[in-house]
Amino acid sequence: MAQSQEAAAGGTPPAAIRTELLERRYGRHVALRGLSLAVPRGSVFGFLGPNGAGKTTAVKLLLGLVRPTGGEGMVLGLPLGEPAARRRIGYLPELFRYQEWLSGREVLEAHAALAGMQRGRRRAAAEEALATVGLSGEGLRRVGAYSKGMQQRLGLAVALLGDPELVVLDEPTSALDPVGRHDVRTIIQDLRAKGTTVFLNSHLLTEIEAVCDEVAVLDHGRVIAQGGLGSLLQAKGVDVEVEGVSQEEIGRLGGTWSAPRNASFPELAEGDVPELVARLVALGGRIHGVTRRRASLEQRFLDWLEVR
């Protein structure tokens, strides 16, 4: 609604998050160096990186929990650290803890109050958030009696409370069982459908691969790769299962035999596949299958870390 108006008003829609050379040092140790990001509104943005890369630091800077030692940024159109921006952000911290002497529903009602929600709407919003994360029947129990996974679900409910415009999740499935992980995936897909921007910190690559439109890969406080998931995962090369073509002929086309009947063409670009197939057929080859190579995120991740 508001977003599409802004988009219609002309030009590029304002980014949900934009940072310029954001930096955080702890003494001489640089936790995050020169982070420049633009997260489009309505996208699901994956923030990847190995342990200690600076993902959590970046998120805390975005939420104003930690001050930058350099650079600047805007979140939802307001400068970092501005309390007003946080009115429209939901946040699940990496180390999530909630008042254990309150019930789950009371935690949510307290957060609703702190977010400035009107008194009359808090109860319903809390119940709705509990239902979304699968804690409907547990709202009246004390948080201290929740299991760790239940506490993380509660944290997710806190982050989703009151339909924020931006949801920031720092490793939202670290304590969840497989069902919970699947639930989180569904929740994120629903958020995307509603037009909510999601900033997802994770080192679970399958999770990122399943839900993100765009990713940035961080290592030692530096972005080492960034872009749409499709383009980042694209790889050159095809494997062809073929009979009746000699090794020399395959070699002339730029391929090698990798197994009996299996020829691989590692340098072939995506657009040249039909041409290759036509030439193999013309040479009398009988083709049983053509497989385009697509790198798994995991493989790319390891490649990126290697070339850093």
Partner: protein
Amino acid sequence: MLEICRLTVVESLRRRLTLALFAATLLLVGLTGWAFSEIGRLSSLQGVERLMQFSVLLLFLMLLFTGMLALTAVFTAAAAVAGELESGVAAAILARPLRRGAYLFGKWLGLAAVVGGFALLAGAGELLIVSRVAAFAPPQPVAALALITAQALLMMTLSLALATRLSAVTSAIISTVAFFLVWMLGTVDLMGVALNYPTLMTVGEIGKILLPTNALWQAAEYYLEPGSLVAATQGLGLGGNPFLAIGPQPPAVLIWAGVWAGIVLALGIWGVVRRQI
């Protein structure tokens, strides 16, 4: 801010802190009543000497009571603030559109309600039971209670401010040590006045400025003593006795205590604003 205040009070209710304080109040009042009725029954003293005896006993009990109050205030505040900041509960709260100053002030209000409520209730209970059992009523009980409560609030404020940057245990210990040190300095000051040693007086004055709790206690003491007793002991060279105040504290003491609390709370707010959560 009011939501944080409400949560702080709810926390003390749920953690049974208020229950414990209420039980402590009953115990304290019961023991005081018993002590006064026994002394009244056994003692053969009359007149000013009897007054003196009751007065010293009351001051002694109230002094213990303020010590207890100070410890309660210190530990409650330290746990409420450092506990939340360290556990990560505060990270979720401070990611809301809430200024950190408002967060800390909300905590202060909630703790003031709990600690101040306990101080007033238990203190009033003490004075009431003494007047019932021993027919001994201090001249200005309300002023004395207000001063004792203020002393507890100062300790609470100090511990709260320290706990924005230090662990709960460390803040509580530093505050407790400060409380007793200043108490000792207060006694040194009294001796200085009595014996006319300027150095001792200066040391005492510095103590009063750094942490005006003992000064507030001495002010409260004066309001707890019967006027006739003060008059009777004047000129007897009884100064230097921590159980006897020979004059009221100047109003500057009160003003400074208020200013001091404001400064320390402001430092606490600065501490939590600068903190990386």
